[in-house]
């Protein structure tokens, strides 16, 4: 389990280059480059860039969730991004390998909770995944056999004084945060000064071809599909690979980020290329 978390530093053994040159594949309009990656608008959005990041502004009155950016990468083993946005929202992430979607993840944030789910295709419709919950880098709990598409984890604010959040959930205003802080009996409410960002990562494990999504969790408590609630600050949704009939994905070359938020800024991004 620990190895699956070192996606930011792992080096992979294979090189794979089938992707069309980026300049050939994407129109210049509505694309910006950030951290060496092209971010091209999807749906009715305006995409703008600066040194600080990529800003995605929905042009819809009621954002449908189809707007976002397609992030084109060279053959990659791992990708992480930090995004900032406010309000209740749904975020949809799609990873592509060999030019087709291979895995998705949905983060559904409401005032009270955030749910995390994922789909994987390594074993077709029968694919299952595990969810692993970590706190300060240590595994707290794990549940396997979750059907692709089902919710894997729910982040929750719990009335536990020892479980003070680290930051203000994106779905809460400062006032709402303070109110929730008092209601839950947290030891202090300074965390309300720091808005949470959503940190998401995607990786394709080298040895097993298992795909995984990794999130920092804003809420201090995480409820797992088996009913267990643990303290966690990070979760990993990892595909379960058995072997028979599995599809050997080697890397990925595109991540789509779509959201119902009116504005989202991708402020930090990193990529681990697929190894040679």
């Amino acid at each position: 389990m620990r190895s699956s978390r070192r996606v930011g530093t792992a080096l992979w053994a294979a090189v794979f280059s089938l992707a069309l040159p980026l300049s050939q594949a994407h129109a210049a309009e509505n694309c910006v480059e950030f951290q060496g990656l092209q971010h091209c608008g999807l749906g009715a959005v305006k995409v703008s860039g600066s040194e600080k990041g990529v800003r995605i502004d929905s042009q819809e009155k009621e954002p449908s969730g189809k707007g976002g950016v397609a992030i084109h990468t060279p053959p990659a083993a791992a990708w992480t991004a930090e995004t900032q946005s406010d309000g209740a929202q749904r975020n949809f992430f799609t990873a592509y390998a060999e030019d087709v979607p291979v895995s998705t993840s949905t983060v559904n944030s409401s005032r009270e909770s955030t749910s995390y789910s994922a789909t994987f295709t390594g074993s077709g419709d029968a694919t299952t995944y595990s969810v692993l919950a970590y706190y300060n880098g240590r595994l707290q709990a794990a549940v396997g056999g979750i059907r692709s598409g089902d919710t894997g984890a729910v982040g929750m604010m719990l009335p536990n004084p020892g479980w003070t959040p680290n930051c203000r959930p994106r779905t809460q205003t400062y006032a709402q945060c303070e109110s929730a802080c008092y209601a839950n009996g947290y030891s202090n409410c300074n965390y309300c000064n720091t808005p949470c960002s959503l940190t998401v990562g995607f990786a394709s494990a080298q040895l097993s071809s298992a795909c995984l999504w990794q999130y920092t969790v804003a809420e201090p408590g995480v409820r797992l599909p088996n009913g267990q609630t643990v303290r966690a600050d990070q979760i990993v949704l990892q595909e379960e690979i058995s072997g028979p009939s599995n599809y050997p994905y080697l890397n990925f070359n595109r991540i789509d980020v779509q959201t119902t938020a009116r504005s989202t800024v991708i402020t930090g991004e990193s990529l681990v290329p697929a190894g040679k």
Partner: protein, 465 residues
């Protein structure tokens, strides 16, 4: 009511005595699908994978031992590697692609047409007639294959241009159809004119699933289907090709390649590495440069084989571990009717439905599997209509190996293009059938005589494979 009739026929025949590898005489009325076991969807027996998506051609065997998964992944890494981008510049300098996956997109045929142009990419095999060799000799300057990629200092050998002429015809019911007759031209020759009388054979990539199973069919099962002198008088002969095995040095039954010109999968892989990618190996230690290509020869002079035995074995193993996609819509009435028509038209005389593999010691998953590839792996004279005029091994210029039909119904899903026959001239199952000549002519004419609904049913059956 009709649907229930077919289901009843299925139930009645499920327990009927089966005659393996027996097809009714072409033209004979067949009132029910012969020998339909309950596992009709299991095209690859226990190795079958149940996926009809864009990944259908690339999944691991359905019965893969879990411990073997990492071997498959390792093999795919090699298969997908960009050998031209490697730091040591292993590939070439004369090639047709950067890596296996460049042409065998998603372990199938070519890349989607929008990516590559209006037609499927072709490679062209070359040879010149020779009195001392029925199969001819390599073209003296360009070798056995036209390499259309070079490097900055080693020019490519040339490019292939294909143009088409419409060939119109009508079915018996008056419905018109149009085929397209290809003409090939080699342009931008990098090393002077081609030799007089050069024979060209254009080829599209083949799909790669099920190769381990085909390799596991006992030789005697293939030989049993041969009828070189057409002793049964059905108009279909069928004979094996034989090629020298690099391993044994002896002529062995060929079963891989458009003309069954490779006896083993490893030899097929090694030859593709050599001729398509310019990569030498223990099986093919000589580069694909010819003596007249001095720049090329200089680049590859006196080097140990680029690929190790381990790389060859692992790449070959990867191909052996790719599963066959299951048939779909097996019990659909139209599909079942189409299967009967397939038999009646005589298609099964060459597109043999079933084999049982032998014992495979190093990959027991492939052993003793009842498989349905719809090929006899034999050479058949397909007439002037499909002739390339280029002998290969013991195959003449009009003979082709019966291609397996399993999985072809998913071509459009996986490769987002449909190009059939050796040179991709056929854009549909119908066109592929209509091009059948020689030994396939009778089947073609029976197909043309069918009603529209019957033709559609037969095609629906092919799509279910």
């Amino acid at each position: 009511m009709k649907a229930s009739w077919w289901l009843t026929a299925l139930l009645l025949t499920a327990g009927a005595p089966r005659q393996e590898n027996a097809a009714p005489a072409p033209g004979a009325a067949v009132s029910e699908v012969p020998g339909r076991p309950d596992d009709e969807a299991l095209a690859g027996g226990g190795t079958t994978v149940f996926d009809a998506s864009h990944n259908a051609y690339g999944r691991a065997l359905g019965n893969l031992a879990p411990t073997r998964w990492y071997q498959m992944r390792e093999g795919k890494v090699l298969f997908m590697r960009d050998w031209a981008a490697h730091e040591e510049g292993l590939a070439g300098p004369l090639t047709n692609a950067a890596g296996c996956g460049s042409c065998h997109f998603k372990d199938g045929r070519g890349r989607p047409l929008p990516d590559v142009g209006p037609e499927a990419p072709l490679l062209v095999r070359l040879s010149v007639p020779a009195k001392d060799a029925p199969a001819g000799h390599h073209e003296p300057v360009y070798g056995v294959q036209l390499n259309d990629r070079g490097t900055a200092d080693v020019p490519a050998e040339g490019t292939v241009q294909v143009t088409y002429t419409d060939v119109k015809g009508t079915y018996a019911d008056g419905t018109p159809y149009t085929l397209r007759q290809p003409r090939y031209r080699i342009n931008q020759l990098g090393y002077g004119k081609l030799a007089p009388g050069v024979m060209l054979s254009p080829r599209i990539p083949s799909q790669l699933f099920g190769l381990g199973l085909l390799a596991a069919i006992p030789d005697e099962a293939i030989h049993a289907l041969a009828d070189a002198d057409d002793r049964d008088g059905d108009g279909v002969s069928g004979r094996p090709n034989r090629m020298v095995s690099v391993h044994s040095g002896k002529a062995e039954l060929g079963r891989f390649g458009w003309k069954a010109n490779q006896p083993t999968l490893e030899q097929q892989v090694a030859s593709a590495f050599s001729e398509d990618l310019g990569l030498t190996s223990p099986l093919y230690p000589e580069s694909n440069c010819t003596a007249k290509q001095e720049g090329c020869m200089t680049r590859v002079a006196a080097k140990a084989p680029a690929l190790s035995r381990h790389v060859l074995e692992r790449t070959t193993l990867y191909l052996r571990l790719i599963g066959v996609p299951a048939r779909r819509d097996v019990l659909e009435p139209t599909v079942m009717k189409g299967q009967v028509l397939f038999q009646q038209a005589g298609c099964a005389a060459c597109h043999q439905r079933e084999f049982t593999t032998g014992t495979v010691e190093d990959v027991p998953e492939l052993s003793n599997q009842r498989i349905r590839p719809y090929t006899d792996l034999l050479l058949h004279d397909m007439g002037p209509e499909l002739a390339d005029g280029r002998p290969d091994g013991e195959a003449s210029g009009t003979e082709w190996r019966t291609p397996p039909l399993w999985g072809l119904g998913l071509l459009e899903t996986v490769n987002r293009q449909v190009r059939m026959l050796h040179d991709g001239r056929a854009r549909s199952f119908e066109e592929a059938i209509l091009w059948h000549g020689g030994e396939g002519a009778r089947a073609r004419e029976r197909f043309k005589a069918l009603s529209k609904a019957e033709r559609e049913a037969l095609v629906a059956f092919l799509r279910s494979l």
